[in-house]
């Protein structure tokens, strides 16, 4: 329908899109190229450049060899830590957000608009204002230096976004569906399980993608609330950054960054189509 109308300028469209996409890819290309150059080569030539010798070994070093102080196991153990925090926190915050969003949008109860407003305003609360208070909370619950503590933090903080996304998706569901089900005798959870959940995959995927990305790439809490062995992958990446008294390890760091970005990139690639379909239903109004 539309493409026939715009047929004459399709060449132009493809050209523009390709140019912009190419520009978008430039930083990624720099990182990928650097991941195949040795640290010394980068230090001796330039930060940006084509590999003179192909340093495929960077990936091996990044995966299993480089040392963070006394632990010389590469990025592997830290990837596991990140997974142990990100996967549970994503699942909990998404599910709880879905239930809460469903409740706020389809079941009226006292104060629902107020609490919804407060919870979603939370997306604006800056990280720095949360670091010390969370320290007190972790201390008093005995969860300091545990991965469980991190899961707790990310779940509660994630609720602000997950409730936001889910609630604005569920408001589009017609009330008649709920009323009919109630007349048939179904209760809160039954309706959620049988009616709401089957309609939810689009928004659930969106929420999962958003949460996974942000929790996986998080650094501040990951480093402050864990000890050496529990640190997330972001900490290991920072260990490879430039320090005053050290040469920058840009080669191995680029390889490590590519490895660390794989899970999120994969989720974006696979979930990409769901992403758009989910937001179709109106993530935020």
């Amino acid at each position: 329908m539309r493409d026939r109308t715009f047929a004459p300028s399709r060449m132009l469209i493809y050209l523009v899109v390709s140019l912009v996409a190419a520009a978008w890819l430039v930083p990624l290309i720099v990182v990928v190229l650097n991941s195949l150059r040795s640290n010394e080569e980068i230090a001796q030539t330039s930060m940006i450049g084509w590999p003179q010798h192909w340093a495929f070994g960077n990936y091996l070093t990044a995966w299993s060899d480089f040392c963070v102080a006394q632990t010389c196991a590469g990025i592997r153990p830290y990837m596991l830590n990140s997974a142990l925090v990100t996967i549970p926190a994503t699942i909990f915050s998404t599910l709880l957000g879905a239930v809460a969003g469903y409740a706020v949008s389809l079941w009226r109860f006292r104060g629902d608009q107020w609490i919804y407003g407060i919870v979603t305003l939370g997306i604006f609360l800056p990280q720095q204002m949360r670091l010390l208070p969370w320290t007190f909370v972790l201390r008093d619950t005995g969860l300091m230096n545990t991965l469980t503590g991190l899961v707790l933090i990310h779940t509660i903080q994630g609720l602000s976004f997950t409730v936001l996304f889910c609630r604005n998706y569920y408001v589009a569901i017609p009330q008649e569906l709920i009323r009919a089900a109630r007349i048939d005798g179904a209760g809160f959870f039954r309706i959620f399980w049988r009616i709401i959940l089957p309609l939810s995959p689009p928004i659930l995927i969106v929420t999962v993608i958003w949460q996974f990305t942000h929790i996986w790439n998080e650094f501040l809490y990951g480093v402050t609330f864990t000890t050496g062995q529990q640190q997330p992958v972001t900490a290991a990446l920072i260990a490879l950054s430039a320090a005053v008294a050290d040469i920058p390890h840009h080669g191995v760091q680029s390889a490590a960054v590519m490895i660390a970005a794989l899970p999120t990139l994969l989720i974006y690639l696979i979930g990409g189509k769901y992403f758009v379909r989910g937001l179709t239903a109106g993530a935020v109004k």
Partner: protein, 428 residues
Amino acid sequence: MPITTTRRRLLAGSAAALALPEFARAQGAVKPRLTVISQWSAGSDGAAITALGKKFEEKGGIWQHSPVPGFTTEMMNKLRAQIIAGDPPACSQLKGPEIAAWSKIAPTVNLDTLVVSAGYEKVVAPDLAKLHRPGGKWISLPLQIYSTNMLYLSKRAMDKAKAEKIPVTWADFNELAEKMKASGIIYPIANGGTRPDDGQKFEASLAGISPAAYRAAIMNLDKKALEGPEVKAAFAQVRRIANWMDPNMGAQPYATNLKRFVDGDMGMMIMGGWAQGVLRNAGFKFDDYIIAPGPSDNGKPVFLLNADAFIFWQRSEPDLQAGQTLMAQLVMDPAIQTMYSQITGSIPVRTDVDLSGDGWSDGQRRTAAALKDAVANNQAVLSLAHNMAQENGLTAAMIDVLTEYVKNKTIKPEQAVTRLAEAVEGAR
């Protein structure tokens, strides 16, 4: 609701922080253990502290080091979180006046007996020792020393400029830079554009012009000295240095320029002793450059001190206390200091260590000699750019002024002097 840390036996500003019981001498029964937090996760620093850990284990201890990647802020965040949680590490990295500040928020260990029995006090530079005895008692131990105002000269650049003389005073330095420029080296100075870089340029200038003025103005915050002619002259010198640098530096670290420096496209670098290790690790040869002490107008070497240290936090567990004793003894041990400094390229804190052996470079020997000399002449001062002279808050406020001055050529030295004095007043 958890409000302040006073609820957790942490003392705020109380002298009781230092009135602590002596160590249990009967160590034989307990296996020493040590929990350590530092920012040294990679590079030569990471290697050095790992080696120290191995020595600790060789002596029968359990070493539990938790490195916090990133810069010092991240390490301090972790330390703060642990202290608030009532679980400080037995030992952590800390340095400069921050030691005094942090000692007020949690109880520390009184190390006097150990220090006396090791005779450590006699072999540590007095200005440095003062930092580690904030309440009159030793609570932390310095481990390695760097000089921050060393002069690096590119051999190829010197050849290009047909220069032979190594600059001694700032006048010599300026002359050499002009000579290099005249011979085709567009950017004689190879420094970086980060905040510590800008701070280093200023402190090297001021300390070189007059260490006494530096001590008065920067370390003691004397108002008259801050507004004095030496500070103005220092700013003028910084302007000269900035004009000899590549304007495209931005916020890049000095490591970006190493290749051009070695190739002779850039001539000189004012940098700390750690640059030797960096140059070596980047694949450049020691023969490519010359190291000399930073310019000093009165002919005698001026040493701008940067020293790392370990602070010991009070713990009640006997195995941790035994670990602290063992660690303190190791840190003061000349053999350990030798090992540590040979790995990182620093010089030992102890002035009585013999550096004639194989593992030392000429640069390190010269630096150690310069330190001894400077201490004798009272020209060893504390680095501002590396948080040795003042607490972090005041240091950052001063460096705000310095970095703006370096990057904004329209600010005149007189204006910078006023701004610096205002910054000091405002942050007091």
